[in-house]
């Protein structure tokens, strides 16, 4: 095990200290949303108690203070992803909006009839539909990189799909349903050789993968605060300055303008060009405390701990299967490179029943198609049960999950 003091970490998360259906809560739905540490909860409270004011306007002290705190988060995001400038980090309401923003601005301007956009077979619906819509509108072509049964991309086919018509590739960094970490460095290099740009859906990357947008030469990256111990309603769109500057505005209104007259409006510089209206100030400010929490622990330790949990679960499942003498449990997503997410199905059991049975023992997991229906069709299943681990989970919790699964199978 890694050298972290798990009890100290758990003490920062008040929500974990409760019983659900007479069992201690075991929260293993972290890929859907993580719980929030006290620092984040208190930052939200403190903002509304002492600092609330609209930002980037007003000469008064509170406005100045809240603007400073808001921009401090932007700076923290820049450092978190190693962007060249804070201005390249735009606040959105989440990954979905970040994707839609690029689809509705960059693609509006730069995608033409016959151009090609490539996505993968393991994308979340939110990284499928926005591209589908823009392709329909522009008479462009959407191509899909297939996957192998273990949940990795078929890179051979990727190279066949890549052509001079390819303008954009959008790819999930870590799959929400499978946990697979995709070889984005290789994808980006190949794309750039064809003058295509790459959008990385980093919803599940957050605290689970080291992020360096400059080293990886990422063009666009979307992040989610609430999957990273921060508040809901905040996302990030990172984009290289030259790309963001070339893009037309997304939504229009206050903040995003420079000058408005009834004849003509000129637009503000990035990032404000893409942040029309009063943003989600309190949650953005609290998001910094989540980033600080991750930085203080260090990603190396977080990743090591989460992998220990994943390995414990996988070996627990394997020994259950051997004790039953048959593969009662099938693991979905068995790539070598993974974040701590494990989907599975149990022979002759519906995932909905399994979810309810686990909940009866206080165990929270996600069941269903995980907004990845094409992926479920690939595996010819309706859905899976998904356990996803975070820094505050314990080996004992994983063992309790395995024990609960054993009981369900025996029934």
């Amino acid at each position: 095990m890694s050298s972290i003091n798990l009890q100290n970490i758990r003490n920062l998360f008040p929500i974990l200290h409760q019983e659900v259906n007479n069992f201690p809560l075991i929260y293993l739905d972290n890929a859907a949303t993580t719980q929030k540490p006290l620092q984040v909860i208190e930052a939200l409270q403190s903002y509304y108690k002492f600092d609330n004011a609209n930002i980037h306007r007003g000469a008064h002290t509170l406005a100045d203070r809240s603007t400073g705190m808001f921009e401090a988060t932007r700076k923290a995001v820049q450092q978190f992803i190693h962007a060249a400038e804070a201005e390249e980090c735009i606040f959105t309401k989440g990954v979905t909006e970040s994707i839609n923003l690029v689809a509705q601005t960059w693609c509006k301007k730069f995608i033409n009839k016959g151009d090609e956009i490539i996505i993968t077979h393991m994308e979340h619906h939110s990284n499928i539909v926005p591209w589908q819509l823009i392709c329909e509108e522009k008479e462009a072509i959407l191509k899909v990189i297939p996957i192998h049964t273990n949940g990795t991309l078929d890179m051979e086919v990727f190279y066949q799909l890549l052509s001079d018509q390819t303008k954009l590739i959008s790819c999930v960094w870590a799959s929400n349903a499978l946990g697979t970490i995709n070889p984005i460095e290789e994808i980006i290099r190949a794309a750039h050789a064809k003058n295509a740009i790459v959008f990385i859906d980093g919803a599940q990357a957050g605290s689970h993968i080291e992020i360096d947008v400059q080293r990886l030469d990422i063009d666009f990256l979307a992040l989610s605060s609430h999957k990273l111990y921060g508040p809901t309603g905040v996302g990030v769109l990172y984009g290289k300055r030259k790309l963001l500057e070339a893009m037309p505005p997304y939504q229009s209104g206050g903040e995003m303008i420079r000058e408005v007259s009834f004849e003509k409006t000129t637009f503000n510089d990035i990032p404000f060009k893409f942040e029309a209206g009063t943003p989600n100030i309190a949650d953005v400010i609290a998001f910094k405390f989540a980033l600080d929490f991750v930085n203080e622990l260090g990603k190396t330790k977080i990743i090591a701990h989460e992998h220990a949990l994943l390995n414990q679960f996988v070996s627990g499942v394997k020994s259950l299967n051997s004790s039953f003498g048959s593969d009662e449990i099938e693991l979905i997503g068995t790539a070598e490179e993974k974040v701590a997410v494990q989907s599975f199905v149990i022979h002759n059991k519906h995932h909905f029943d399994i979810g309810l049975m686990l909940d009866a023992r206080g165990i929270a997991v996600r069941t269903g198609h995980h907004c990845t229906q094409p992926l479920m069709n690939f595996y010819n299943i309706e859905g899976t049960v998904r356990a996803s681990f975070a820094i505050y989970n314990t080996i004992e919790e994983v063992d309790a999950l395995v024990e609960a699964i054993k009981k369900i199978i025996k029934k």
């Binding site: 259906n21 007479n22 519906h350 909905f352 029943d353 309810l356 049975m357 909940d359 009866a360 069941t367």
Partner: protein, 139 residues
């Protein structure tokens, strides 16, 4: 027995488990297994009541003024709940079905199963059974 008496009987049965949700779910799964098989010809898309996570098939039979139901579900716990509805409403007049207030669901600690139509075919099923009854009363 009236649908009120049957509901009270179900509440009594479940009271043995007190607040042990896991045992209640296991019991529901057992009840589901005892539900008579549906005529396979009736288990068609026409008689599907769809939820997001669980599906229910429901086939009504009207005979001498009374309604009877064949039913099935693709999930064991929903099937158990479905079997309870069939137990309460099988052989009742459409009017009695329409007039029934279903209070047993909450009393046995399963209100979450009717909370969200999106996640469960069970809510849609209750509505569908009442719709069949309503159509017959109107005639």
């Amino acid at each position: 027995m009236t649908s009120i008496e049957l509901q009270n009987e179900i509440i009594d049965d479940f009271s043995l488990f007190e607040d042990d949700l896991e045992s209640k779910l296991f019991y529901l799964m057992d009840l589901g297994k005892k539900l008579p098989d549906m005529n396979t010809a009736h288990k068609s898309d026409e008689f599907i009541v769809k939820g997001c996570q669980s599906k229910v098939w429901l086939y009504p039979i009207y005979n001498e003024g009374k309604l009877y139901f064949e039913a099935d579900s693709n999930t064991e716990i929903t099937k158990g709940l479905v079997s309870l509805l069939v137990r309460i409403w099988n052989g009742k007049t459409p009017k009695e079905i329409l007039d029934t207030e279903l209070y047993f669901i909450e009393k046995i600690g399963m209100s979450r199963m009717i909370g969200s139509q999106r996640s469960n075919g069970f809510t849609s099923m209750i509505k569908q059974m009442k719709m069949y009854a309503f159509a017959l009363v109107k005639e």
